[in-house]
Symmetry: D3
Subunit: 312 residues, 6 copies
């Protein structure tokens, strides 16, 4: 069983176990209450109890049970559908084959640590919970915890940040949309720099004003069209660290199949208007009282009304 | 009656009339067969007969009638709902007020030539045909003729171009999506340069591969996320000519209310994969025979099937 | 009495009080235990009790007393040398004259809110504690809390950060030296971006390896000389927010004497060696056993030994 | 017999013939009326009858005769000095050796398709018409059709273009001089972008005003000296497609001897003055009536007059 | 009488005289042996005797005579056609009107010091020697001394420099052509930097190999076409000091009519081939023994031979 | 015995001897009067008598004696501690091993010419004079002659240069500090360009005003902090020639152990204030009469006064 990069504190665990020479006891569990799964995606420092974090997401303590292999010394989630127990031996590596991932490409084969399975337990009629790798549920699950970190980082640099979003069009990792209430020149740039420092997977940041709906790609693109000038509003920083999942990344050591740092150029577009009191053109808005007076049935027959798609 | 920038050969006509000192006879017509309206949007050289072009769009000759003011010397569309006839005096200017336009902002007031109306004729119960300025019908109507020019220009530079699109997210003018079958390095860049030379309103060009649906912003954004590196794949050219409608443009002469050239930085993103035989990661595709075996009703009750939105 | 930019939550307080129209009760205290002064320099969110933070720095609760003006409703530090109580009226502004500040220039005059003094209390033989504005004690006092924020921000981006320093040569604000144990390509760049997002006053960041003493300007400069190549290792980001204290900054609105955002270009130099296993030249080190064998008195007379300055 | 890149629709023909597997019947003809040779250099779409284009250049239909090999099924020019008939077999390649070409370098050897000659016919005392490869006649012959395309492309972007020229100093391909009557800011930049999109061989574009003689390198260089500022008036676009003839080009696949795309940086210099009404210094011009009054013979003896070269 | 910028040590003299408050005795002389005029154009430090320098150019001592005004205390050239003697009063300024200069534009009016004329002496039938301002004799006279400085500066940076030239196409000041025998990578760049530091009037530098004739613009342009890639071989340095004669320069203080520093972007193109042993394509050369065998009279009638212009 | 790059005219001598095929007679001398050693470090053209230059540094002629090997035909310094005489054979190369050098790294092994030793002579009890390679005495010895060249070059470009320094923090070669009295815009940039053209080892130039002490890194860094904006005041020129001692340099031919040109990016920071009359903030200076009134003993007990370090 190959272990992916996503095992969040893996590198820290690996250093520990490789320095002792003993294998690392580990479990994998599959299927649980959705809140438990979400909680497990949170990236925490290695000394934080992940079971407590999952309990926080569940809003009640995670029920635990002794493991088959190590008993009370290693507790496992009692309500998981399936639990796999095993040992990760130091230094041993196995091929982690071509596989689908969130960037929607088949990732190239890598050499990864392996787990020697000791026991598998499961509930009766256990559900094998899986997600569509490279599909939108993988986007959303991965993006939600990252949006939290992103919001906190931008908030520190631009206190008037309103919202952040990692759109599915960027696999909920590569593009970040940041919405701010702009009160001073330079805040768009500050938000870009703050957002690029959050996580190696955030590659492009677009900052917009508070009238732009950041959950709609088309609105963000319209802000880019009419509020950015690329000789002035574009930031490009080459050679930043990225994920192995970015197919345009440079490998740290080309041809090496083990886990290394990858680098890529990152960038941002400041698509905000100038801060007041600098002038800018006013966005068109048909007043609500005008819109409410226009009734489609005044113009076309009743039978057609329901068939005409209305444009937002 | 103020005359907009959109009167396509206006500048050429203006030069002629201002050099003679006589007023320029002109007509405006409102409402006709939709194909006639589309045909009238085509930009043609000044020596091409616009009535013939409209006839081409109608697939039959445009029916004409003598004008009220000049008789046989100036024919007008016989089937127009309303025809306004008048004289545009040289050098006179009037205020062309704050108004909605395709960029979805209220354009600032400008000084424009005026027309002294001589006669208005109309059909019985004439329909005053208007479009929602700053709404999607204005986008589409303006974008269609421009897409033709764009396709021809890119075709000359990159013969394997597949399609072009001016998405509504860029008001069908500012963003251009270009889809090519890439056969050689450098074609993405060539397509950007060719597209930026087509029309002053095209501001940003994104070039993608033939597997990307250019009618879906999210697919184009995904290509930008996973196939572009901005230290290498970005073109920015400052000081190009743009339209007065771009609110980020520099005026030729700030504060001048007359018609002048405006400049802005334009740019492009090459979001194509390397041309074969250079390797790139393979896009995930669940084989059709696998997809066809998965029936939602095998997993949930029949009553739920119709209520679950299916994600593409 | 004019109030400076440094009153950390001032902008938030100002918004509150200007929206109500009432004056803002406020106190200024001068002179206390040095730990209390340091604690007061910590920038905290507006809803954190600053007296508790000062108590934390003192390692015991700050002793408080009723104010002369508002009694128990507004407590003041009981052990301050001098306490000035007053009201800050909304919207009123006074000239805040040419004065020395940490950048070591006389700041230009600005218009600032004023305080109407209600009462001044002081200890017997009160010491008026002041710092040498524009001298090194101002550097150090301001830099210490900022170094903490800087360390935390870089730690998140580059977990192997070793140390940070805001050298006096940059007024303990403008230059930041960051020392990392480099384990992967791109970490120098990550550290720069993280550090530039921390505080508007950090203008230039230099990242060095762990063998470089970041408390010695000359060692950092040597790393810049022999480990950086500016076509590759330099980051420049224009139009970021800075402090009014930077004499090269652009004012948000030139000529405006009130408080506004200022912008400037910020930058960083990555002066780290490539991460292993990439090769680099080895730094010269005379082995300790060799150095210990060389005794100056073996070469010159004893009377000269103490007069020869030894070069590190 | 090796076939060069210059066979204009060759790539399209090659695709056809390689997909069928049959050899491609082909002829080469050498020597004809100069207008026929010029006509044959015109690049036309594959579905245009090239014999008609040649007829256009000749101003009368090209006289044709049945070929020796295929009779009426493949007509050949009746008045050519020499006609070579043959078959180009699919996939076979032969060495196309070191040879002189228009860039004035010996091109490196490449692998090219070959022709199996079936028949050679010629007029009595046939003239073997050749051009000096790498000399000025090759420059001019290749440049004339390209100037036409260039003019059309720039005309579309800048309607006030006056003239274009491909100077012999750039082998009539690499440098393009564009002369415009400038009426608005940004037109120089527009002309550069339009000209760079025309043909892969155009590498550097210089845009000048209408007072500059674009057939004189020295005048164009004077405009560059006194009307361009390279922080503002220079465009550089890396990674555009170029010809294999540019010795600075990057090969698509280095070391590959077959035909591939090559890329290079292209650029332009806008050496135009600001458009009116922006001011600029006035060019010196000695009035004609002054010049006409100065007679050299008034100053020197008659015998010297004819020996003094007069400087323009 | 207005005094131009070209009075070489003028600024130093001006400082002296303005600090004392006395007027500066000065002479202007017009017409002499050409070598004396050339010698007078040499720029020397203020403490070098200019009469000796002129003597050096004449290859014999300059004959001197007492001045009319100051007698033996101020000697004047005895063989000058005309000598004007006067006093330049401190601080007084007069309008130095629109006039032709070497950049071939009418320079805008400036405020310049004036001279109060005391005496004018002249030879019998004195020749008023003038040059065609803005014509080629002004180019050459000004360029020759500058070429010497340029050669020395480049020689120090690139010892294998072969020649330098300031072509008339750049008014013998703005463009510098530098010919080197390239023996190592980077020498083209070194030559550019060295040449840009020589004189404020050198604006653009082109470096070529020793096979390029730098006295022929077309050869230099051919090297730019086929040996430079502008993403790699172009240097642009903004904000360098230039002459008031460059019409694209920024004035130090816009609108100020007195003498100030002007700045402009300067640049260079490295149009050299890679240094051996790096490969590059070989330039075409028809062997001399082949050329000598081709006799035009073997191909055309004798009467035509003399009428056919031969292309170099 | 391997011969280093530092033998200043070595390359010129090598060319001569390799063209004749004979070995090159040569001597190395170790230990002399310090002024003789300094004089020997001066880089002079090959046709200047180096013994005279050393005599200049000594302020008296260098005493010479016949060599052991060649007698009167090759004189050697009579007062040198040790003289090694030998022949450098053409084309022979030996390994010049890993060794300490001024950049403070162990330089990689190279192939260098060798000397076949013929004779060694020495004074009685000769002192083997050596310097600490990579230590500060090597810095200073190498830097002093270079500072002279630097001053002369900058003086030519900016006559108001005040001083130059090659700080030990840049190994007295890589960083150059230039102090100017700024009288016009652009002079900082001019000084950078002039300084970068002086010597291949000068990599980074910082230009400061005359109030900055260029012998104190911290003052120079303060000027960078508060007087430079890197979007405007930074110069970066890639691909300039550098020394093999710069560990970040690109080798001309990677992997080649012989002596070749190396290239690197060089740069400069203009940290000067705007030239008068442009305004800038005034540097803080406590007036001397105020400082003199403050006596530490008025504030603390006499016994403490000597223990408190005073901050400059």
């Amino acid at each position: 069983m190959g272990l992916g990069e996503g095992t969040h504190n893996w590198e820290r665990y690996r250093e520990r176990v490789e320095s002792t020479g003993d294998g690392l006891p580990a479990i994998a569990w599959i299927g649980h209450h959705p809140a438990a799964c979400m909680g497990a995606l949170t990236r925490v420092p290695i000394d934080v109890d992940e079971y407590s974090v999952i309990g926080g997401a569940l809003a009640e303590p995670l029920r635990l049970a002794p493991s088959e292999t190590w008993g009370e010394k290693f507790l496992v989630p009692a309500d998981a559908e399936i639990v796999i127990e095993g040992i990760i031996p130091p230094k041993e590596r196995g091929r982690h084959g071509l596989r689908a991932d969130y960037a929607r490409y088949y990732s190239p084969e890598t050499l990864r640590p392996v787990m020697e399975v000791q026991a598998i337990t499961h509930r009766r009629d256990a559900i094998y919970h899986d997600i569509h790798l490279g599909g939108r549920d993988q986007d959303h699950l991965g993006g939600i915890p990252l949006e939290g970190s992103l919001y906190r980082a931008v908030k520190q640099a631009v206190p008037t940040v309103k919202n952040v979003h990692l759109p599915s069009s960027g696999c909920s990792r590569f593009h970040a949309y940041v919405q701010i209430k702009k009160t001073a020149a330079g805040q768009g740039r500050e938000a870009i720099v703050a957002a690029l420092g959050v996580d190696r997977r955030v590659k492009h940041v677009v900052v917009v004003d508070e009238d732009i709906n950041i959950f709609d790609d088309a609105e963000v693109l319209w802000a880019v069209a009419t509020r950015s000038r690329w000789d002035r509003d574009l930031v490009v920083i080459p050679n930043m660290i990225t994920t192995t999942r970015d197919p345009t990344a440079y490998a740290g050591s080309p041809g090496d199949l083990s886990y290394h740092a990858y680098t890529v150029a990152k960038g941002g577009i400041d698509a905000t208007m100038p801060a007041p009191p600098e002038p800018f053109e006013i966005r068109i808005k048909v007043p609500d009282e005008v819109m409410s007076k226009i009734q489609l049935r005044d113009y076309v027959g009743n039978d057609l009304v329901s068939k005409i798609p209305l444009d937002a």
